[in-house]
Structure formats: structure tokens, C-alpha cells
């Protein structure tokens, strides 16, 4: 890459180094130490992001297996493959894992990996916090699944309504594990959200003003803000739940002045934005993939950004449409109907912009684009059934039936998993340096698309003809039998699609075509570095002059230089214009995030059994945090070495 002189941005205060020397020195400074110790203490956002992605996919597969188990049970009426107890645990684990351990983390994982690359910085903000968040997330997920295997899996549904999940009706520790898992994952999610927000707002490459931020990054930014406002609600409610269960508080005890509906309000105040927390990053995938494969810049950048922001705000205004059946005042319900309907407008705008991009582009139908098209086909249907759900009268019929199951799978699988698969096909070369097989990709898409629709479309009808959700069994003769069998068949096809995907990944990791820096000819900054990217991301921080930098600066990106190479250093820029402001050191690898995460794990798991764990558990946690933040004396470098 030919570097333009960008010294007008940065004051040079050390000797200039050659390209190779810079590279080597940066590598030495930023590389994660080798060995197990290094692996455990890594703070590289790409490593952490990769771990997040892999872990989330493991959970995805596990939860998918549970889904298959449920479909097998429901394939026919009066089946006894699963006992009600086991079935209740399974559907709870399925929902909980998909929502808390797969969907949100995987979206954040992509943000962790990609956002620093897309905004052109060397590391994510607060990298130790980032490592910590992963360990906490991992601990929470492992805890939940170990509990499940030990027959302590939660059995009260992923939204754990009280009083069913309360102390009286959920004896034992099952619901406690659920509640603490929520706390674990929300701690992780909040940490990531803070990192993303700071990375996006302060670490963008010079010149990447707000109107040049890639839409994926916009999506993640809005998402992160939503996380910051939504997640505390569920953390509070799950903590209230565990207090009710463990120390006998009365938050949800209607007899003593608590309220069972309080739980629902708190939960859905989180739960509905949660859907957008999953969906908005996915729109970011779509907005990244589409221009690349339509081979034209995205249409309606501003409209899309505004739609994202509008969705982010509106997303907080419609939680009550999950509670239309609870007997709340009609006037209030009407407001939430309006809000729920209104959110169709920004979504519609987004759809139009994507269609328009495709319309005016010169599409190349590679697998990522196939998934995006699948996304539009499915998500729009899910969105439209969502409009039905926004209507109080219609919702009163289809709420908590298989219609809703169909709806949210259309929205979540269609709206998030399809783009996610597209994103994997799209960024796999960047992550691994190898391409996924396009042929297998097509099969993957085909099976997935067909299987999905066969599995979930009949559920719309099932719901309308009276099948409630979360039933472990149903009687024959109500007209549900054939559709359920069809649905199960679809699920098997869907699973086959996932198997193809796994095979594709497995094979391509070793034998896939080797990818160059920018195999798709994309326009954003992550393609401006090697595949996979070096530990320091960029040899020189790029300078951005437009929304599609790699297209607009086809001859090579302008860069700035002047950051230290002997220590980890980042360039901070201003919030709006991304004008360089200051050089900021970035932390070294450290084992303390892991230790602190362990301490948190002990505290959280201990508090399932005794409230005293909060007291005694805070001691190791304090030790961990002290170690983490222990100030290091400035290293003896008489003269900083600058690129």
C-alpha cells in the first residue's frame, strides 16, 4: 500500500521507521504471547471475537439439537418420547440458549471482531474488559449447560414468568441457574456494549466522520446503546427473582404487596429491545453484504441510519405488546399497538433501500447474497405477521400460540440467522484466510431456506387453529397432526442445511481456497488489511475520505503514521468528525480478566446457594480487580519508537 503523507494530522516525535521494520516491531508489540498462558491472557479483539463466535455457534448447535428433540416429540399427537419435565427443560434451554447464549453474543462477537477493523483502529477499547466479558459469558453458558446436564436445567420458559419461576412453584435450583445465567450474560453484553460504543465514537480512523461510518458499525452502535439501556432491566429483574427465591423478598409476591406483572414489565422492557439487539446487527450484515455483491454503494445511507436510530428508540416503546392478554387498560394497549405498528415504517424503509440497492446494482449471486435474499423473503413475512401481533384483538387470539412461534422464528431466523450465515460466508476469508466452498454454500442455503419454511410456515396455521405453544403433547383430532409432522420434517431438512454448513467450515478451514486481502472487492476498511488480519490490524492507520473507502481510493488508502510501535498505542479521534485528537495507550495482555471472571463466576454460582456468597465472593473479586488495575510504572523507554 502506498502511503500518502498524512503528517499534517499527526506530529511526529520520533524517528521514522521503514515499512518492514514497522511491521516487525508492531508484531512484537501487539502479538499475543505464545502458549497456554498467552492464550488465557489474550486481549486481542480478534482472538476474543473468534472465541465468542465459536462458543456461540456451539451453543447454537446444542440449542438446535434441543429444537430437534422437541420437533420429534411433537411430530405426532400424544407422543411420549419426552416427559413433560424433560420437555419443559428442553424448550426453556432452547429459548434461553438461543436468545442469551447465541443470538446476542454472536452479534456482539462480530462487532468485537469487525468493528475495530471497520473503523480502522488497532484494538478495541477496553480490551481487558473484552477478555473478561468473554470469560464471564463462557462461564455463564457452561454453568447453564452443566446444570442442564445435571438435571438442574431451568424448566420455566425463557421468559421465566413469576410466580411459576418463583420460590413456591419452582423448587430446587433450576430457576436460580437461569437467573444467574442471565446475570452472567448481561454482564458480558454490557461490557461489550461499552467497548463498542467507545470504539466507534473515539477510535475511528481519521476522516471517518459520522456520515461515513459503515452501516454495520452504525447498527452495532445503535445496538450497543440499546444494550446499555435494556439489559439492566433484566439484570434487575433476575436479581429480584433470585432474591425472592433465596432470601424471601416479596418483589413478585402479590399477597405481600409485590406484583407478578412487575416481572413481565421488567422482562419485556428488556425482552423486546432484545429482538432489535439481535436484528439491528443483522441489518448491518445485510448492509455490508449487499453493496459488495450488488456492486454499488448502498442506496439511502442516511435513510438507513435514521431507520436504525428510529428502530432503536421505538424498540423501547412496544414491550407491552407481549402483555396484551394480561388485562392492562385498553388505552395503554392502544399506545403500544401504535408503537408496534409504527416500527414497521423504519423496517419498511430499510427493506426498500436494500431492494433498491439490488435493483440498481449488478448483483453477483454468491452465497452471502443468497442468504440476504433469503433474509428478505423470510424476514418480511415475519415482519408482516408482526404487524398482526401488534393489533390487540388479533394478538388476543394468536398470542402464546404456534402463530407466535412461527412469527418470531421468521423474524429471528429470517432476520438474524440468515444474515448471520451470509456474514459468515462473507467474512470467513477475512477471519481465516480461506474461502468457504460456494457450492456447499448453495446447498447450505437451499436446504436451510426450504427446511426453514417447511418447519415454520405450518406453525402459523397451527396457531390459528388453536395450538398453544409450550405444550409437550397434544391430543389427536384437532387438526394439528399433519401440520406438526410437516413441521418436524422441515426441521430435519433445516438440520441437514446446518450439517452442510458445518462440513463446509470444517473442510474449508484446511482446504478452502486461499483468500487475498479483499476477495469480494468490498469497500470497507476491514478488507484493507491482510486476511486474516495481523495482531495490530493495520500497519498504518488509514485515512478515510468517503463512505466506501476501498472503492473510492482504489489506488490505495491514505494513511497516518506516528503511533508508537514499541508500545500498544491507539489513535483517538473526535466523536463527530473523527479528527485526530490524542494518542492513547492500549493495555497489554493480562491474566487478570480471566481471574476476575473466575471470581465473578464463584460469586454468582455461590449466590445460587447462599446469599453469603455475595459477601465472601466479593473478596476474590476485589483481588482480581486490584490485580487487573494495578498501575504499572512507566517502562524504561528513553525514546519512544514511532512508526
Amino acid at each position: 500500500m502506498s502511503a500518502r503523507d498524512a503528517s499534517r494530522f499527526i506530529r511526529r516525535d520520533g524517528p521514522s521507521l521503514g515499512e518492514a521494520e514497522t511491521h516487525a516491531r508492531l508484531e512484537r508489540t501487539w502479538a499475543t504471547p505464545p502458549g497456554l498462558w498467552g492464550w488465557l491472557s489474550s486481549v486481542d479483539h480478534k482472538q476474543v471475537g473468534r472465541r465468542y463466535i465459536v462458543t456461540a455457534f456451539v451453543f447454537f448447535l446444542l440449542a438446535g439439537l434441543l429444537a430437534l428433540a422437541m420437533r420429534m416429540q411433537l411430530a405426532g399427537p400424544n407422543q411420549t418420547l419426552l416427559t413433560p419435565d424433560r420437555y419443559n427443560q428442553i424448550f426453556t434451554m432452547h429459548g434461553t440458549t438461543m436468545m442469551f447464549l447465541f443470538a446476542v453474543p454472536v452479534m456482539e462477537a462480530f462487532a468485537i471482531y469487525l468493528v475495530p477493523l471497520m473503523v480502522g483502529t488497532r484494538a478495541i477499547a477496553f480490551p481487558r474488559l473484552n477478555a473478561f466479558s468473554y470469560w464471564v459469558y463462557l462461564a455463564g453458558g457452561v454453568m447453564l449447560w452443566v446444570a442442564f446436564i445435571l438435571n438442574v436445567g431451568p424448566d420455566v420458559g425463557w421468559f421465566s414468568y413469576v410466580p411459576l419461576s418463583g420460590p413456591q412453584f419452582s423448587p430446587g435450583k433450576r430457576a436460580d441457574f437461569w437467573a444467574q445465567m442471565v446475570t452472567f450474560t448481561e454482564v458480558a453484553a454490557l461490557a461489550v456494549a461499552v467497548e463498542i460504543i467507545v470504539t466507534v465514537l473515539k477510535q475511528r480512523a481519521p476522516g471517518m466522520s459520522l456520515n461515513r461510518i459503515p452501516l454495520f458499525v452504525w447498527g452495532q452502535l445503535v445496538t450497543s446503546f440499546m444494550v446499555v439501556f435494556a439489559m439492566p432491566a433484566v439484570m434487575v429483574s433476575s436479581s429480584m427473582l433470585i432474591m425472592d427465591r433465596l432470601i424471601g423478598t416479596h418483589f413478585f409476591n402479590p399477597a405481600e404487596g409485590g406484583d407478578a406483572l412487575l416481572w413481565q414489565h421488567l422482562f419485556w422492557f428488556f425482552g423486546h429491545p432484545e429482538v432489535y439487539i439481535i436484528f439491528l446487527p443483522a441489518t448491518g450484515f445485510v448492509s455490508s453484504i449487499l453493496p459488495t455483491f450488488a456492486r454499488r454503494p448502498i442506496f439511502g445511507y442516511t435513510a438507513l441510519v435514521l431507520a436504525l436510530v428510529a428502530t432503536g428508540f421505538l424498540g423501547f416503546g412496544l414491550w407491552v405488546h407481549h402483555m396484551f392478554a394480561t388485562g392492562l387498560p385498553h388505552l395503554g394497549n392502544s399506545f403500544y399497538t401504535a408503537a408496534s405498528m409504527a416500527i414497521a415504517i423504519p423496517s419498511g424503509i430499510q427493506i426498500f433501500c436494500w431492494l433498491a440497492t439490488l435493483w440498481d446494482g449488478r448483483p453477483r449471486f454468491a452465497t452471502p447474497l443468497l442468504f440476504v435474499i433469503g433474509f428478505i423473503v423470510i424476514f418480511v413475512l415475519g415482519g408482516l405477521s408482526g404487524i398482526m401481533l401488534a393489533s390487540v384483538p388479533i394478538d388476543s387470539q394468536v398470542h402464546d400460540t404456534y402463530f407466535v412461534v412461527a412469527h418470531f422464528h421468521y423474524v429471528l431466523i429470517g432476520g438474524a440467522v440468515f444474515p448471520l450465515f451470509g456474514a459468515i460466508y462473507y467474512w470467513f476469508p477475512k477471519f481465516t484466510g480461506r474461502m468457504l466452498s460456494e457450492r456447499a454454500g448453495a446447498w447450505n442455503f437451499g436446504l436451510f431456506f426450504v427446511g426453514f419454511n417447511i418447519a415454520f410456515f405450518p406453525m402459523h396455521i397451527l396457531g390459528l387453529i388453536g395450538m398453544p405453544r409450550r405444550v409437550y403433547s397434544y391430543p389427536a383430532g384437532l387438526g394439528w397432526d399433519d401440520l406438526n409432522l410437516l413441521s418436524t420434517a422441515g426441521a430435519v431438512i433445516l438440520a441437514a442445511g446446518v450439517l452442510v454448513f458445518l462440513g463446509n467450515v470444517w473442510h474449508s478451514l484446511k482446504h478452502g481456497l486461499v483468500a487475498d486481502d479483499n476477495p469480494w472487492g468490498a469497500a470497507t476498511l476491514e478488507w484493507a488489511t491482510a486476511s486474516p488480519p495481523p495482531s495490530f490490524n493495520f500497519v498504518h492507520i488509514p485515512v478515510v475520505t468517503g463512505s466506501n473507502p476501498l472503492w473510492e481510493e482504489a489506488d490505495g488508502l491514505p494513511v497516518v503514521s506516528g503511533l508508537r510501535v514499541d508500545q500498544r498505542e491507539l489513535l483517538l479521534t473526535s466523536v463527530v468528525d473523527a479528527a485526530p485528537e490524542v494518542r492513547e495507550p492500549s493495555p497489554e495482555p493480562s491474566i487478570w480478566p480471566l481471574l476476575s471472571a473466575l471470581a465473578v463466576t464463584i460469586l454468582f454460582i455461590g449466590s445460587i446457594f447462599t446469599p453469603w456468597a455475595v459477601v465472601w465472593g466479593s473478596i476474590p473479586l476485589a483481588v482480581g480487580l486490584i490485580g487487573w488495575f494495578w498501575p504499572k510504572s512507566a517502562p524504561d523507554t528513553p525514546e519512544p519508537v514511532i512508526e
Binding site: 438435571n151 410466580p163 413456591q168 430446587g172 427465591r245 424471601g248 416479596h250 399477597a255
Partner: protein, 188 residues
């Protein structure tokens, strides 16, 4: 991490956890009777000729099982145990959350008391409550004075909070008081 010793150690820990969890979390609505239920099987006092027989290990299936304890708590209310013994503080019947036991504190003793009734007012529930449910009630009765594992003992109910829940009741070391007439501590 690959040292076999460590692996087997962690496996052992896991196995112990698993056992404890399985015992605690199993939801077996049928239940299975613990030992013999006839009066002959149960000693009321603590004095034995020869060696006393050890307690039935299957007790744990009830006392350590959260579901059975919770069922016991529900049945305790449904079958009007609570109208005589209140929420453990006692009323017409003696308190159940304290440390004194007139007719024995073992699960089998309590079972026998429920089945047989006692002369000073405790009604007999023979044939009225299925055996497994009596075991559940008996186990719950023991949880009221903290005799069962805390992790399995019930939490508070969604009702008037009369006292700290069983899981927070400190264990009262059982003391045997003499069974007998109304004059003795006035217990039934």
C-alpha cells in the same frame, strides 16, 4: 490440564455435584415409599435392644429432593396440617419448627405419626393420604426445623410471610421429649 490425575479429580467433583443435583432436582411425581411403613418398622424411642438399625438411605430421595419437599409443603396446606400446626409455630398441634419431638424426629417416625395418629389429638390419616404423599409431607415437616439440606428446602410461598422460609430456618438439633398424656408439654 491434560494430567489424568486432574481430570479424574475434576470428574469426581462433577460426579459428586451430579449426584447431589440429581437427588435434589429430580421431579418424580410418583415417588417411592421409603422402607417399610408399618408401625413395626419404626422405633419411637431412642433405646434399642442390641444395635439400632441404621436409617433407611432412601430417605434422601425425599429429604434431599426439592420437588418432594415442595409437594410436601403444598400438601401440608391442602390437607389442613397447617390449620393445626400453623406454619410451623403450632396451634392446636405442637410447633414443628422447634427442636422438641414427642413421637420421634426421624422421617419414619413422622410418617408413622401421620398414618397412625396420636392419642392426644393427632388424627390418623391412614388410607386418607397415599403413602408417597405422606413421605413428602413428613420430609417437609423435617424441613421446617431445618433438618433437610438447605439447597433442597422450600423457599417462601406467595402468601402472607409468616416466618422465614424453610431454607432459611436454622437447623434445630432434635430433642426427644417423652410421649405421653396431656400433662407432658401438652403435645399431641
Amino acid at each position: 490440564m491434560s494430567s489424568p490425575c486432574r481430570r479424574s479429580a475434576s470428574l469426581a467433583v462433577l460426579a459428586v455435584l451430579a449426584l447431589a443435583a440429581c437427588d435434589r432436582e429430580e421431579r418424580e411425581p410418583r415417588g417411592a415409599p421409603v422402607g417399610e411403613s408399618g408401625p413395626g418398622a419404626i422405633a419411637q424411642g431412642t433405646l434399642y435392644a442390641g444395635e439400632p438399625s441404621p436409617p433407611d438411605p432412601r430417605r434422601q430421595e425425599y429429604e434431599g429432593n426439592a420437588y418432594h419437599l415442595a409437594q410436601g409443603k403444598q400438601l401440608y396446606v391442602w390437607f389442613n396440617c397447617g390449620t393445626c400446626h400453623a406454619n410451623g409455630g403450632g396451634d392446636i398441634g405442637p410447633p414443628l419448627m422447634d427442636d422438641s419431638w414427642i413421637y420421634g424426629d426421624s422421617l419414619e417416625n413422622i410418617f408413622a405419626t401421620i398414618v397412625q395418629g396420636r392419642p392426644n389429638g393427632m388424627p390418623s390419616f391412614r388410607n386418607k393420604i397415599p403413602e408417597t404423599q405422606i413421605w413428602e409431607i413428613a420430609a417437609y415437616v423435617r424441613s421446617m426445623s431445618g433438618q433437610t439440606p438447605t439447597a433442597a428446602s422450600p423457599g417462601r410461598n406467595d402468601s402472607l410471610n409468616a416466618k422465614p422460609a424453610e431454607q432459611r430456618t436454622p437447623k434445630a438439633e432434635p430433642k426427644q421429649s417423652t410421649p405421653g398424656g396431656p400433662q407432658v408439654e401438652g403435645r399431641q
